[in-house]
């Protein structure tokens, strides 16, 4: 479990980090908590020659009110998200998902931005970010640009963040008062999701007014179950109706087959978990 040799820098400013990144080129890698990167380096599945640790840069960590959104620094640990009152009020789905990430040690070291840019298909933070319509603030040599959630996740472990860029913040549009549930299916605690469903729901009276439903590990990127969302709009807060609306949850997905289950099983799970997630998010 000894990684190959690498240089390590811990810049104190974003500019410095970007400069190091530009100099390092292909051989440089951003360290943003290291809960995924360090294990693969120790297994020598990755061998960057330069690690740029963002941990000492002020301003990349924290959760603040930003008008119609909540602004989260990329280096904010999962634990801070899980326990944030501000997010609990305006983006409860993120808190619910963050609470299921790995174990307490990982939640204190691993970061929101790190998990998003890593874009593990079985990771728990991408699907909630997707369905909440997150805006990704990315810094590069040319300045700052913003990428929408629909454009951010490009493929397996691949995002819109370029090799010479750094994700600095994520803006989460407020979903104030929306109920939320992250329904994660695992065989043992601290396992990656076999399948998970992220649901957040705005109820009006005895019906669902609006719903957002995202799927984890049902393809190479997080997936928004748009047909389910459409079917849920106006749906009665009642199990059978919600189940009917969620029946299409697996449509258009391409889930993996592994020792925990084949693709058919995952498709089945997605519909069952979607129903449970929506029911729970709606307070049912």
């Amino acid at each position: 479990m000894i990684p190959s040799a690498f240089d390590y820098h811990a810049p104190t400013s974003l500019d410095e980090a970007l400069t190091l990144l530009a100099q390092g080129g292909d051989d440089a890698k951003i360290l943003a908590g290291g809960q995924s990167l360090i294990p693969v380096m120790r297994l020598r599945l990755a061998g960057p020659e330069l690690l740029i640790d963002l941990g000492r840069i002020d301003g990349l960590r924290g959760i603040e009110d930003d008008g119609d959104a909540v602004r989260i620094g990329a280096m904010t640990p999962h634990h801070d998200i899980a326990s944030s009152a501000l997010l609990g009020e305006h983006a409860a789905l993120l808190c619910a998902a963050a609470r299921t990430v790995a174990d307490p040690q990982v939640r204190h070291r691993g970061t929101f931005g790190g998990a998003l840019v890593h874009a593990d298909p079985a990771g728990d933070m991408p699907a909630p970010a997707l369905v909440l319509g997150a805006e990704f603030v990315i810094a590069g040599a040319g300045g700052i640009r913003t990428v929408s959630a629909t454009d951010f996740f490009e493929g397996l472990f691949t995002t819109a963040v370029g090799e010479d860029e750094i994700l600095t913040h994520v803006r989460i549009p407020k979903h104030t008062g929306w109920g939320a549930r992250y329904e994660k299916f695992t065989r043992v605690a601290q396992q990656w999701s076999i399948v998970a469903v992220a649901a957040t729901v705005r109820a009006e009276g005895s019906a669902i007014a609006e719903a957002r439903v995202g799927l984890t590990n049902m393809g190479s990127v997080p997936i928004r179950a748009e047909s389910v969302e459409a079917a849920l709009a106006g749906c009665a807060l009642e199990e059978a109706a919600i189940a009917r609306a969620c029946a299409s949850a697996a449509e258009g997905t391409d889930p993996p087959t592994d020792t925990n289950g084949d693709a058919d099983y995952r498709r089945h799970l997605a519909t069952v978990l979607a129903t449970r997630a929506v029911l729970s998010a709606a307070g049912g």
Binding site: R44, R187, V188, Q191, D258, T259, Y265
Partner: protein, 818 residues
Amino acid sequence: MTVTEIGSPRRRKEDQRLITGRTRYTDNIVLPGMLHLAMVRSPFAHATITAIDTHDATSSPGVVAVLTGRDVADEQGSLPCAWPITPDQKAPPHPAIAVDHVAFAGEVVACVIARSAAEARDAIELIDIDYDELPVVLDLEEALTDATLAHPDLGTNKSATWVFDSAEAGTGDDVAQVLAASELVLERTYLQQRLIPAFMEPRSTVVDPTGEQITMWSATQVPHLLRLMLALTLSIPEGKVRVVAPDVGGGFGGKLQVTPEEVITMLAARRTGKPCKYTETRSESLMAAHHGRGQVQRLKLGATREGIVTGLSVDLLADMGAYLGLVTPGVPILGAFMYNSIYKFAAYRFSCTNLFTNKAWTDAYRGAGRPEATFAIERLMDDLAHELDMDPVELRRKNWIKHEEFPFSTIACLEYDSGNYEAATDRALELFGYDDLCAERDRRRAAGDRVQLGIGVSTFTEMCGLAPSRVLGALSYAAGGWEHAQVRVLPTGAVEVVTGVSGHGQGHETAWSQIVADRLGVPFDSIEVLHGDTQTSQKGLDTYGSRSLVVGGMAVVAAADKVIEKARTVAAHLLEASTDDIEFAEGRFSVRGTDQGLALGEIAFATFSAHNLPDGFEPSLDSDATFDPENFSFPHGTHLAAMEVDTETGEVTLRKYVCVDDIGNVINPMIVDGQVHGGLVQGIAQALFEEAVHDESGTLVSGSFVDYLVPSAADLPSFTTDRTVTPSTTNALGVKGVGEAGTIASTPAIVNGVLDAIRHLGVQDIAMPCSPHRVWKALQDGASKGLGAEEPVPDRVAPEQDAGPMNSSGNLPTGDFQ
């Protein structure tokens, strides 16, 4: 003897250092000038090595040497197998470093010796090896055909076939005749998937060639066996080798081995003349440390319609993997004596064929043969109860040995000394709330609840306390089963206890102190227990098979008793009395009927100074004893599991677990509870979570803890454990051994519970581990056959063609447990 310590739930004295890390595990050992090893391992499960280019690695920074199999071919010998189960057993040579042929993925093909671990690790990337891939045999049914050979030079995959037949042994009738005459015969095939011991501390070895003796520190369960085997394998005089097992972080049988890595580290140290260290990574540990289980069990159980079992036929295929390790061939044979378990029946036949495959070799894993046997008979008993529409506990009652029938000679040739299955079962049923839970299950079944409830029953006994040496001899095992101890009384009256067993988490230091404190009447805290170093503990056969207390503890008792007799002689001399008049109680020798007396400590000092001892008395109280048990011990118990199965997702949840074990007298109930809890988790893990999965090329897919699912406390409820006490009659402590009990009994309890929950939905079997996917798939298959259709009990129940694992090819159950 005054009993104040025995039975006390003392906190373990070793835990403070183990938990705080104020101790040295092998990898913590740093010696001056020490070199570090890294291994190159075959990525292929079966291949010929055609070329190895070590040039770049040899010139890599810090590298001292590179060893290939060819470099050490003349000195590495063949790794030992101490248990040839038949005279004609076949086995390939087992080099520590493969020379020109690799037979499993993970086998060592080269070793780098460097000044730092990092330099060694870097250099192994620079070794270029050419392989010619050979076809692999992974599946046991396929291995049986010899169509593809794991070792072409051997000419067959069959290592040995071992048979026990009750008619031949004279213990019972002919099983074929009995089954033919039976009103009902259940035919079943069960699979024991491969498991990985997954001890907490990876294996590590340090060898120091400095000085007259070569010293090896190793994370091993068996320092004494290791010393002997190193001497034999490498032709080193035994006296020139010292083996130390410092604190060792778990083993579960996985460190009952003489490993290639230990031999390689020894070779490296001898070559370089420097201390050498090798510590495996977790990946290497999962891939190349020995695995456990791996059997296909083909079973036929005969019974009457009243539920009386008439006979059992067991036909096993056992996966040896690529080589025979220290006791590999004997593991399934240990199960041969346990298929009849706590039951009486007229005829029994056991046949086991040991087969080679291109996977890591198997060997002992917690329970070793006995969990497999118990699983088979307990699954069969539940299946039989279902076929006869009988309560599974009642069925067992009809067949088990009644408490008044002990001692009982079994059909498998063992003599059970004691037991009370009725008492343990009654207590378990009461704690479990059996009737209420059965009623709840029936309600939920009738209501068609989404989450169904099932009740799993398992009773068990095991043979432990390995072992009477004569029995081991009869089974062709190379060594005996005795154990050694020494009790030394220091001048201050403090006591040192040297034990030949080698604890690696069991709590021997505490338990042995409790035994000796009571025996000698000295304070618990003045007793030191020494073990795990062949220089301190010269004789021993180490720790495995729930033997430490039953055999090693008895040796301690015998040594302590000798100390008392020596001290009595000194006391009589000093007190000017006859030894017959000296009474010993609570650490004090006194003259009967007087207030004259001396404490053991006073006698110890008098013996040390030796100024005034009886004529001819050897000035020492220290005593050795070697204890060879006259019989195994037979703990037993009844385990009950309430399983909830989510029929939508296949998710299985253990809601309640009750076990009542009878392990005889208890030295330390807290240690016993810990052993039972840990054992239960490992057994439950086989039922629900763990499986070594290989792909079609023989690569281990479950090669990290991401895919090899070891459950944690978060995955399980609190267990309800209790005990009944029926002391063993064959040892003075009345103890039976507890290390494996939980692992043996829990696996069938869990699977029986899962099946009980969903049998009415058309599910007859689910291969272990009963993952949500497999349970869901079984429910789908059951539904497609017609939901809940109660089939009439046929006269003869056909083999369940669909009972196997859900491999995508739809093949019959095989040894390739994917």
